[in-house]
């Protein structure tokens, strides 16, 4: 959803042609997350399908311009006005992995956590070093480094969480869950109400 919204927000500044959108996107978000060109045209088609943009004229140089619609502008306003909601069932891979792994017989969950800590720590180190080189006095640099700092703070949170998990699991070692055999359960149909 974010690429889509980003392109739309750029188009809200004025009509653009596809390749230009890519340039603008990269320029604004830093080349870190460079978009594949094909995705632009893809996304534009989908935005058009949803009535948020329209295909405009082709200029003398053959550029195919796209223009945002009223509905599109409204969508941008909504996007900017409303905070990003972190949904409950966010299905973060690491969270799911550790939660599940903690229930699996034959898995040394503590080892999994420690291995993750090593990797996350290495990443944190790398991000920290790179972020330290950002010129905090240059507004453009500060903006360009936002994704970097976001990754850094996220890594920090991840490390804190891992330490917390390690501690909790250590003080109260989890018992792995075996598969529930279907023999233990009622065959089919509505089960007896638990008392």
């Amino acid at each position: 959803m974010s690429v889509r919204q980003s392109l739309l927000a750029i188009l809200d500044q004025g009509p653009c042609y596809g390749y230009q959108l890519r340039t603008e996107f990269d320029r604004r978000t830093g080349s870190i997350s460079s978009l594949n060109v094909g995705q632009i045209y893809n996304t534009l088609d989908r935005l058009e399908r949803d009535g948020l943009v329209t295909k405009d004229e082709v200029d003398a140089e053959g550029h195919v311009y796209w223009r945002i619609t009223r509905a599109g502008s409204a969508a941008v306003r909504d996007w900017l006005d409303a905070p990003v909601a972190r949904t409950e069932g966010t299905r973060d891979e690491l969270t799911l992995k550790l939660t599940l792994a903690a229930t699996l017989p034959g898995v040394d969950i503590a080892a999994v956590v420690r291995a993750q800590e090593v990797a996350s720590r290495a990443r944190w180190d790398d991000l920290t070093a790179r972020y330290a080189q950002v010129d905090a006095g240059d507004p453009a640099s500060v903006i360009a480094a936002l994704p970097l700092s976001a990754a850094l703070f996220a890594a920090e949170g991840e490390l804190r969480w891992l330490a917390h998990v390690e501690q909790r699991l250590a003080s109260h070692p989890p018992r792995a869950m075996a598969l529930e055999l279907s023999a233990e359960k009622p065959k089919r149909g509505r089960p007896a109400r638990r008392v």
Copy 2:
């Protein structure tokens, strides 16, 4: 990728039928992130396509069992052995939104950040309250609450990041970027090399 891997990891414990996989998944990861049943059969087909599971026999009650293959077990081992890699171009929605918004003329980026802080703070409060009610002495509860604590630590990181961003942007206010007019750029073809 995480749902897929999770189901595979459960199947590594022994053959299961579709509905059972859902039960096991919910039981192990907490009903927070309850899976839609349809997705199970979907994912199983895809796993079979990739040679990681095979359709097994149907038992007397009509349950269609699935069995993991050698390749599947190997994939599970790899998954558990390797830490989760946070890729660089992670395209987090909030990160992308703020980065982009900071470059858009007509957008009060400070207001956007503040609104997000309010929302994130509210979420943090909620998560904190709920996590406080978890019985840290019960191993099963601790595991079941892992997604909750993960969300909590992530929210904490988000708040820290937002505070950091607010401060940086305040001390060095960003200059919004206008669209680059194509008139200012070379027409088509390879551009002149920048000196």
